[in-house]
Amino acid sequence: MSVAPFIVLSAILFTIGCVGVLTRRNAIVVFMCVELMLNASNLALVTFARANGNLDGQIAAFFVMVVAAAEVVVGLAIIMNIFRTRRSASVDDASLLKY
Amino acid sequence: MSFPWLTVMLAVPVVVALALAFAPKSISATTVKQIALGTSLVVLVLGIVMAIRFDNNGGMQFTETHDWIKTFGAHYALGVDGLGLSLVLLTVILTPVVILASWNDGDEGRWGPKGFFAWILALEGLAVGVFAATDVFLFYIFFEATLIPIYFLVGGYGGPNRAKAAVKFLLYNLFGGLVMLAAVIALYVESAKATSGPSYLLSDLSHLHVGTDVGRWMFLGFMVAFVVKAPLFPLHTWLADTCEEATPGTSVLLVSVLDKIGSFGMVRFCLVLFPEASRWATPAVVVLAVISIIYGALMAIGSDNIPRLIAYTSVSHFGFIVLGIFVLNSQGLSGANLYMFNHGLSTAALFLIGGFLISRKGTASISRMGGIEKVAPVLAGLFLVSGLATLSLPGLSPFISEFLVIVGAFVYSPWAAAFAVTGIVLAALYILVMYQRMMTGPGPEEIASSPISDLNLREIVSVVPVIALIVLLGFFPKPLLDMLNPGVQHSLVQVGAHDPTPTVPLSGGSGEGGSK
C-alpha cells in the first residue's frame, strides 16, 4: 500500500483544520478544528510508522492523543470560565489584551 | 619594569572618586572639596614629575603592557609620546583649576557636592586613561567610559533643562561610539588574519597593511566618532546645548579635555593605522574643517548666551585643529598638536571667568549685561586677556599654533589658508563684540541697583595660573614644541607624507638667519 495518498489526505485535513481555526468564531468549534489538525498529524505519524517499519510513529501518535486530552480538558475549562464571565463563547470577544 | 606611572595617575583619582562617592553622609562639604583638590594636586605633581623625566625624542615612554583578553588580542597597554603627555598634562593642570573654580557649584545639584567632585575626579582618571591607552580596545573602553561622568555632571548639576541637554549629548556621542565600535571589530577581523594572531596593540597594528577599501571604511568608522567628539560642522549641535546648560567647570572639562580625544584620536589612530585612507580623505576633511572654522565663528557672533558663544568658538577652533592635522605636513601637524594644548587653556580661562560673571549676574544673556568693567575691573581685565587668547593675539600661546596651522594649510593649498585666515577676523569680531556689549558702556540702570562684586581670592587663584601659562607659552613655546615635534615627524613618516621643499632653495648658509 503506497504511502502518498495517506500523507496527502493528512495534509488536506490539516489545512482544513487551519482554515477552520482562522474562520470560525465559536471557541468550541475552533477547538474542534485544532483537534482535527492533531488527528491529521496522527494519521501522518501512523503512516510513516508503517512506511519505516518501526512502531515509533504509533507511539508518537499515542502521545499526541494523551497530550490532546490534557489540552482539551484545560481548554474547555478556560472556555467555560470565559463563557461564565462574558456570557459569550465567541473568540473575538476576548480581545481586551490589545494596543 | 619601572614604576607604573600611568596606571597610578589613572587609578588615584578614580579610587578617591569611589571613596568620596561611598563616603558616609555625615562628611562635610568642605572636607569633600579639600580631598578632591588635594587628590588633583597630587596627580598634578605626578604629571609634572613624569614630564621632567620624559626624554623628548624617546618615542613611546612610560609603557606598560599586560595581556587582558587574549582571544581579542586586547592588552592593558599604556604609554605616552609627546602628544599624549601634553594632553595628560592639560588634564591634570585643568582639573585642580576647575575644582577650585567651581568650589560651590556642586552644592545644590542632585547628588550634592560629594557626587559633583566624585564625578570630576572619575572624569580626570578616565581622561588620563584615554590619552595614555596604546591599545585600540582599551582606548575604546575609555572613550565610552568618559561619557558617563559628563552625562551625570551635566544632568545632575546645571541649568533649567539640563536633562534634555545631557541626553542629547549622550545619544550623539554614543552614536559616534557605536560607529567606531564597528570599525574596532573590523580591525579585530583584519588583525586576526595576520600571522601573529589578533592584537589591538598600536605597535602591532601600525605594521598591519589593510586593503584600500577596507582601510577606507574603517577610517570612516573612526572619523565619524572623532568628528562627533571634536565637533566639526555637521555634527556639532550638541556642544552648544550642553555647554549652555552645564556648570562652567563641567563645560571646561568637556571642551578642553574630552573633546580633545577626538582630535587626539585622529592623530594617534586615523593617521597611524590608515595612512592611505587619510591621504585619500584629506581634501574632504580639509573642506569640512574650513567650513566649521567659518561656521563656528559666524554662529558665535550671532549667539547672545555666553557659554553658547564660547562653545561655538570651540567649534571654530576645532576646525583649525583638524585642518592642521589633515594638511599632512610638519608645520600643520605641529601647529595642531600645540593648538590642542593652547585651546584647552584659553577656553578654560574664558569659560571659568564667564562662569564667575554668570554666577554674579544670575543671567547668561549678553544683552542684559553692561558696564561691568567699571564695577569689576579685575574680572573684566582677565576676561579680556582670555578673550584675546581666544582670538589668538600674538604674544599669547594660541597665536603660534594658529599661525603654524595656517602656514601648514598654505603649504597644502593657498585657498584653504585664505578661507581659514578669515577665521582670525571673525574671531576678533565675536570676542570684541561680546566684550563691548558686556563690559563697556554705562550699562543698563540695574548696574547701580545690583552692584556685582569683583573676583574674590579663590577665583583669582584658580584662573591666574592658566592665564600665566598662556602668556608664558606665548613667548616660550619651545619646551612644549620640542616635546611634540618628534611625535609629529613619526606620524608623518607613518602617513608617508613629506614636506614640500620651498620653491626658492635657500642660498648659502645664511638661510637660517640669526647670528653669523
Binding site: 503506497s2 495518498p5 512506511a51 | -
Partner: protein, 249 residues
C-alpha cells in the same frame, strides 16, 4: 486500499462540513465521523491498538467532553457566520489554500518509496510490541505525560471552581428565610404538594385535586405548565365516571 478510497472522500467532506456547519453540535458530530474513519484507517495501517485508543479515548472521551461543553454553552451560542474582522475570511482562505497547495504539491513530488510494512514489528502482536517499546525507550516520556494529565485535571478543577462569595447558609437560616417569605410574601410554606396519585394516573403531569375538585396549581412543575402538557381534571373524570357508572349519580 479500497477502504481508504472510500473513507477519504467521506472524511474530507465531513471536515469541510466542520467548516460550514451552522450549529456547533453538527460540527461535533461531523468531527466524530472523521475520527472514526481515521480509526479505521489506523486499522488498515496495522495499528489495531491505536484503532482502539482512537475510538475509546479520542472519540469516546474527548469528543463527548466537547458535547458536554456545548451543552453548558448552549447550542445556539454565536453561530452567526457574519465575519467581524475585516478581510479575515478572505485572507485566511487564501493563505490556507496556499498552505495546502504547497504541502500537497511538495508531498506529491516527494517519492516515499515502498512501505516496509509492520509485519516484522507486529510479530508478537501490535499491543505487546508497542508496550515493549513504550516501557523501555519511552518510559520517561510516559511518566511525564501522566504528570501532565494530573495537572490538567487539577487545572480544570481549579478553573471550574467558584469561590463562595457570601457565607455558607446553614439549615436554620433556610428555615427562618422560608418563614419570613411566608410572612411577608405569603409564599407556600413547606414542600409543595405532590402530583395527583390516582388508580390509573400518577405521572408527574397529573395535577392533585383540591377538595372542590379543581386542580391544585402548586402540584405541577412550572415548566410543564409553561409547556401546556398538564392533564386537566375533566379528562381524568371522564375515566372515573365510566368506571363508576353504577355508582350514585
Amino acid at each position: 486500499m479500497i477502504g481508504f478510497w472510500i473513507l477519504a472522500p467521506v472524511m474530507v467532506a465531513c471536515a469541510l462540513g466542520l467548516l460550514f456547519a451552522r450549529k456547533a453540535v453538527h460540527a461535533a458530530l461531523l468531527l466524530a465521523v472523521v475520527m472514526i474513519s481515521l480509526a479505521v484507517l489506523y486499522l488498515i495501517q496495522d495499528a489495531p491498538f491505536l484503532f482502539a485508543v482512537q475510538i475509546i479515548v479520542y472519540t469516546g472521551a474527548i469528543l463527548m467532553l466537547f458535547l458536554f461543553a456545548l451543552m453548558f454553552v448552549g447550542v445556539d451560542a454565536s453561530d452567526s457566520v457574519v465575519e467581524t474582522i475585516r478581510g479575515q475570511r478572505a485572507i485566511s482562505t487564501l493563505v490556507g489554500l496556499g498552505f495546502g497547495l504547497t504541502l500537497v504539491v511538495g508531498l506529491a513530488q516527494v517519492s516515499f518509496g515502498t512501505a516496509f510494512g509492520l509485519g516484522a514489528a507486529n510479530k508478537q502482536g501490535n499491543v505487546p510490541a508497542i508496550a515493549k517499546i513504550l516501557f523501555t525507550r519511552y518510559v520517561f516520556a510516559f511518566e511525564v505525560t501522566s504528570a501532565l494529565l494530573i495537572t490538567a485535571a487539577v487545572g480544570a478543577m481549579v478553573l471550574a471552581h467558584r469561590e463562595l462569595l457570601t457565607p455558607k447558609r446553614t439549615q436554620a437560616d433556610l428555615a427562618a428565610q422560608r418563614l419570613r417569605d411566608y410572612a411577608e410574601k405569603g409564599t407556600h410554606l413547606g414542600p409543595l404538594p405532590p402530583p395527583g396519585v390516582f388508580a390509573r394516573h400518577n405521572s408527574v403531569d397529573t395535577p392533585a385535586l383540591l377538595p372542590d375538585g379543581t386542580a391544585a396549581e402548586a402540584s405541577i412543575s412550572r415548566v410543564l405548565a409553561a409547556r401546556g402538557t398538564v392533564k386537566s381534571a375533566p379528562e381524568i373524570s371522564g375515566d372515573i365516571a365510566e368506571l363508576t357508572e353504577g355508582g350514585e349519580e
